[in-house]
C-alpha cells in the first residue's frame, strides 16, 4: 500500500476514534484523553516541513469542525508539526535512522526511550497550547496547569498502548539513498 493511501486511512481512523470513542469517554473533568495527534507523529521522516504543517492544520481543523469551535486543535497541531523536525534531529541516533526507515517508531528512533521522549514532548506541547488557548477564555491558570499535566500523562499512556498494539512493519532500506 502506498504511503499516501495509508496515511489517508490513518487520518480518517484517528479522527473517528478521537471523536466517537475518546471524546465520549468521560474519565474526569480534569482529563481529556487525546490520541489523534499521533497521526502527526507517524508521518514520514522525509516530508517537506511546509507540507507537514499544512497536513497538521487540516487534521486539527477536521477535529475542530466536529467540535464546532474552530481553531483550537488546528493551532495545537500546527505547533507540534513545527517542532517535530527539531525534536527528531535531537533524538535520532547517529547511524541515521531517518534514512534507514520511513517513519518514527521504536525501531527507527533507536529504542523505546527516545521514542517516548519524542511522543511525550510533542503531546505536552500539544496539550499546553490547546488548554492555554481554552483557558484564555476562562482565566483559571491552576486549573489549566493540572489539566495539562494529567491529560499529557493519559495521552502518553494511550500512545504507548497504541504502539504496542499496532506494530507497524518497518522496512529497512539501504543507506545508499
Amino acid at each position: 500500500m502506498s504511503s499516501f493511501v495509508k496515511n489517508i486511512i490513518r487520518f480518517a481512523l484517528f479522527i473517528l476514534f478521537q471523536v466517537y470513542v475518546l471524546d465520549k469517554i468521560r474519565l474526569h473533568q480534569m482529563v481529556t484523553p487525546y490520541i489523534y495527534f499521533m497521526f502527526i507523529l507517524w508521518l514520514p521522516f522525509k516530508m517537506n516541513r511546509t507540507l507537514l504543517m499544512l497536513i497538521a492544520f487540516l487534521l486539527g481543523f477536521t477535529l475542530d469542525s466536529f467540535n464546532h469551535a474552530y481553531g483550537f486543535h488546528a493551532a495545537a497541531c500546527v505547533l507540534i508539526a513545527y517542532f517535530r523536525p527539531f525534536l527528531i534531529n535531537l533524538l535520532i541516533p547517529q547511524e541515521g535512522g531517518e534514512t534507514n526507515y520511513d517513519e518514527p517508531s521504536f525501531k527507527s528512533m533507536g529504542g523505546m526511550l527516545p521514542y517516548l521522549i519524542y511522543a511525550g514532548v510533542l503531546s505536552l506541547l500539544h496539550n499546553i497550547w490547546l488548554f492555554f488557548l481554552e483557558a484564555l477564555q476562562f482565566g483559571d491558570i491552576w486549573y489549566f496547569f493540572v489539566k495539562t499535566f494529567l491529560s499529557t500523562v493519559i495521552s502518553l499512556l494511550l500512545v504507548l498502548i497504541t504502539e504496542l498494539l499496532f506494530t507497524r512493519k518497518q522496512r529497512f532500506r539501504t543507506n545508499t539513498v
Binding site: 464546532h68 481553531g71 477564555q137 476562562f138
Partner: protein, 286 residues
C-alpha cells in the same frame, strides 16, 4: 530588497508556521463569538451527516431512560388538564362567548418543535449540541432549546438546511438570564468551564435569602427571551460570597442532564422579532 527576499527564504518555515497560527487564532476569536456562520455551513452539513449515523446506533442504548422521562413529562401534562380541577359552583357560570375570534392562533406566543440530538459534548470548554432539524424545518438562530421535561438546554446559534447547532448552557458565551423562583431576584447564568451539569448564577446581591435546593427559572428577559418565562434552569447547590463586590455567586446544579440528551424541543417565540425591534428603537433614541 534582496535582503528581504533572502530573509523570507531563510525563515519561510517559521513564517508559514506563524501564518497558520494566526489563521487558527483568528478562527478562535471570530468563531467563538455569539453568532457567526462564516463557513460553518459546509462543515456542519458534513459532520452532521456523520454524526447522524452514530446517533442512530446510540439511541437504542438510551431507550429506557428516554421512556422514563417521557412518562414524567406526560405526568406533568396530565396534571395540568382542566378536568382535574373542580371549580366552586358559585363562581363558575356556563355561558357562550359571543365574540368568535380564533384567539388560539392569534395569540400563540410559543411553538414547540421536537428534534433529536445528533451530537452532544460536555467535556470541551465550549460545548455545542447538534440537532437533526434545520432551516428546512423552521429552525432559526436565537431559538431556545429545552429538554423533554422543559429544562433549559441552550440556544440555537447556527442552522444549515438539515441541522442546527446549539450553544449549550455549558459554553463561555452563554448568558441566560435566570431568576430565583422564591424571591424573584434576577441574575445571569454563566458557565465556568469546569464541571458539566454545574453552572453559576451571578448578579444576585448579598442581602437575598437563598437556601439550598431553591429553583432557578428563566426570567423571560433579554438573553433568555428565547425561552418562555418560568422554565427550570436548575437548583441551588451552594452559595459563595464574592469578596470585593456586593454580590454572591450561586452554584447551580442544572435541571437538564447534559450527559444523555436524546430528544429536545425547539421553542419558537413568535414575538422575539418585535421585541428586538422595539429594543433597537429605544437604543437609537438614547
Amino acid at each position: 530588497m534582496r535582503n528581504i527576499f533572502l530573509f523570507i527564504r531563510r525563515y519561510s518555515n517559521l513564517l508559514f508556521f506563524l501564518v497558520l497560527q494566526v489563521i487558527s487564532i483568528y478562527f478562535i476569536v471570530h468563531y467563538s463569538r455569539y453568532h457567526n456562520a462564516a463557513f460553518g455551513n459546509f462543515a456542519n452539513q458534513f459532520t452532521g451527516k456523520v454524526n447522524t449515523q452514530y446517533s442512530n446506533v446510540q439511541r437504542y442504548f438510551n431507550l429506557k431512560k428516554t421512556n422514563d422521562s417521557l412518562v414524567k413529562a406526560n405526568e406533568v401534562l396530565y396534571n395540568k388538564l382542566k378536568a382535574n380541577f373542580e371549580l366552586p359552583d358559585t363562581t363558575s357560570k356556563t355561558g357562550v362567548d359571543s365574540i368568535k375570534v380564533d384567539s388560539i392562533l392569534q395569540f400563540r406566543k410559543y411553538t414547540y418543535m421536537a428534534a433529536t440530538v445528533v451530537s452532544n459534548s460536555v467535556s470541551a470548554q465550549n460545548n455545542f449540541i447538534v440537532l437533526s432539524r434545520g432551516k428546512a424545518k423552521n429552525v432559526k438562530p436565537q431559538m431556545g432549546i429545552v429538554d423533554i421535561n422543559n429544562n433549559v438546554v441552550g440556544i440555537v446559534t447556527d442552522v444549515t438546511n438539515d441541522f442546527a447547532v446549539v450553544m449549550s448552557v455549558l459554553h463561555k458565551d452563554s448568558h441566560i438570564s435566570g431568576k430565583l423562583l422564591k424571591t424573584g431576584e434576577i441574575g445571569t447564568v454563566l458557565w465556568d468551564g469546569k464541571e458539566a451539569n454545574s453552572v453559576t448564577l451571578t448578579g444576585i446581591s448579598k442581602g437575598v435569602k437563598i437556601a439550598k435546593g431553591d429553583s432557578v427559572i428563566t426570567s423571560g428577559f433579554e438573553y433568555s427571551s428565547s425561552f418562555p418565562k418560568g422554565m427550570l434552569i436548575g437548583t441551588v447547590e451552594a452559595v459563595y460570597n464574592e469578596v470585593s463586590t456586593s454580590y454572591v455567586k450561586i452554584k447551580i446544579h442544572t435541571a437538564a442532564n447534559f450527559y444523555n440528551l436524546q430528544y429536545v424541543y425547539v421553542i419558537d417565540y413568535s414575538q422575539q422579532e418585535s421585541i428586538k425591534e422595539i429594543m433597537e428603537k429605544v437604543k437609537k433614541q438614547l
